[in-house]
């Protein structure tokens, strides 16, 4: 218990002095369950002529495992339920759930399974993994930034771009961009 408090203190110090972030990440080692409270999965798609539209997935689940010895062997699994998509416009939500986009009745889950985690900085990493949506699987990359670590809770800010056409969701291009910008906050609780 005492060691853990020391570790947390080390991590807090690391935020001020990134040099010892390695100490912090090793302290962060362990398994976490993504907690919907404190987490969000938002996306935006650019529109022709400027602007864009955005939304969020209300329901998702997943785990984050940070390897103590080798950060590169850390794992992230994330399952999104596309039925829970929300844009603030009911007609767009219905369109996104329909077979025009997610076909959530036949494809109730979008899954991400990490295959590789590469440290890119003191608090950043690139997470490569296999994204499966509508029965199609492709390798995708996301950038994760450690956003906080305290009392068994770890928080990452994750961003990445996904080409929707590869997953049979090209409807509306080029009026709506093929590029979906993801912006996620994933909060994991130890255990």
């Amino acid at each position: 218990m005492h060691a853990r408090i020391l570790g947390l203190a080390a991590f807090a110090a690391c935020l001020a002095a990134p040099v010892c972030a390695a100490v912090a990440l090793s302290d962060a080692a362990g398994s976490y369950t993504i907690s919907p409270a404190g987490s969000s999965i938002r996306f935006t798609i650019g529109k022709a002529g400027g602007g864009g539209f955005g939304g969020a997935f209300g329901r998702f689940k997943g785990t984050i495992r940070i390897d103590n010895a080798d950060v590169g062997r850390s794992k992230v699994n994330l399952t999104i339920f596309p039925e829970s998509v929300g844009t603030g416009q009911g007609r767009i939500d219905a369109f996104l759930r329909s077979d025009a986009v997610f076909d959530s009745a036949n494809n109730p889950e979008i899954q991400f399974r990490s295959t590789n985690v590469t440290r890119t900085g003191e608090t950043t990493a690139v997470v490569t993994g296999r994204l499966t949506a509508r029965g199609k699987t492709f390798s995708e990359k996301f950038t994760a930034e450690l956003d906080g670590l305290k009392s068994g809770t770890i928080k990452f800010h994750v961003t990445g771009k996904v080409l929707r056409s590869r997953y049979g969701m090209d409807v509306g291009t080029p009026i709506y961009s093929n590029v979906v910008d993801f912006d996620m906050t994933l909060t994991g609780r130890r255990g």
């Binding site: 529109k47 539209f53 767009i92 329909s98 077979d99 025009a100």
Partner: protein, 190 residues
């Protein structure tokens, strides 16, 4: 020398003939497309057909502006002498109404997409972004213009049907040149 592009005192030139049939075809096609796109089950196909309907709507509007400009600059031929007094008075009104619908339909459609809270950009034939009209978006305005576009479409297509019936009557019953002169500048009749 008689030009076949412009109208003469008794004949339509190719410019008005081509614009007439092109606009007529697109107008009727738009009615059919509009009908189908609102009833089709597939949301994806519906979305794509609506974008196509918007593309043809802007093409129609462009052609109609050209047609009106041509009509103003190149007087339409006089009606054949065989046309009766009542029809002579009714024809310009009917033709004015047809022009009014050709303008009102694409304009009401443009208004509809401009006030729609869906904010879907318009890209005619995926070529360029057509800006929205500077109107306030609201669900109420969208419902109103959706209904207006719908009623105008039905009234417009009814008028087109009347126009076609009148042309048939001229051709098969009265046997005059009213239909043939909008087919080619050098009609055999009269």
């Amino acid at each position: 020398m008689q030009s076949s592009i412009t109208n003469t005192a008794t004949r339509y030139g190719w410019a008005m003939i081509i614009l007439h049939w092109l606009i007529g075809l697109i107008f009727i096609g738009q009615f059919v497309l509009g009908f189908v796109m609102m009833r089709i089950d597939s949301q994806r196909t519906s979305f794509e057909l609506i974008q196509l309907h918007k593309s043809f709507g802007f093409l129609l509007l462009g052609l109609v502006i050209l047609r009106i400009a041509w009509r103003v600059g190149d007087a339409a031929p006089a009606l054949p002498p065989s046309v009766g007094t009542l029809e002579r008075k009714a024809a310009p009104l009917a033709h004015f109404a047809l022009y009014a619908f050709q303008v009102a339909l694409p304009l009401s459609g443009w208004t509809l997409v401009s006030v729609s809270t869906l904010e879907i950009p318009t890209m005619p034939f995926n070529q360029f972004v057509m800006p929205d009209l500077p109107l306030a978006e609201s669900d109420a305005a969208e419902s109103f213009w959706s209904a207006a576009h719908w009623y105008l479409a039905y009234a417009g297509i009814a008028l087109v049907a009347l126009h076609i019936l009148a042309a048939m009557r001229h051709h098969f019953l009265l046997r005059d040149s009213v239909l043939t002169r909008i087919i080619t500048p050098s009609s055999a009749r009269e």
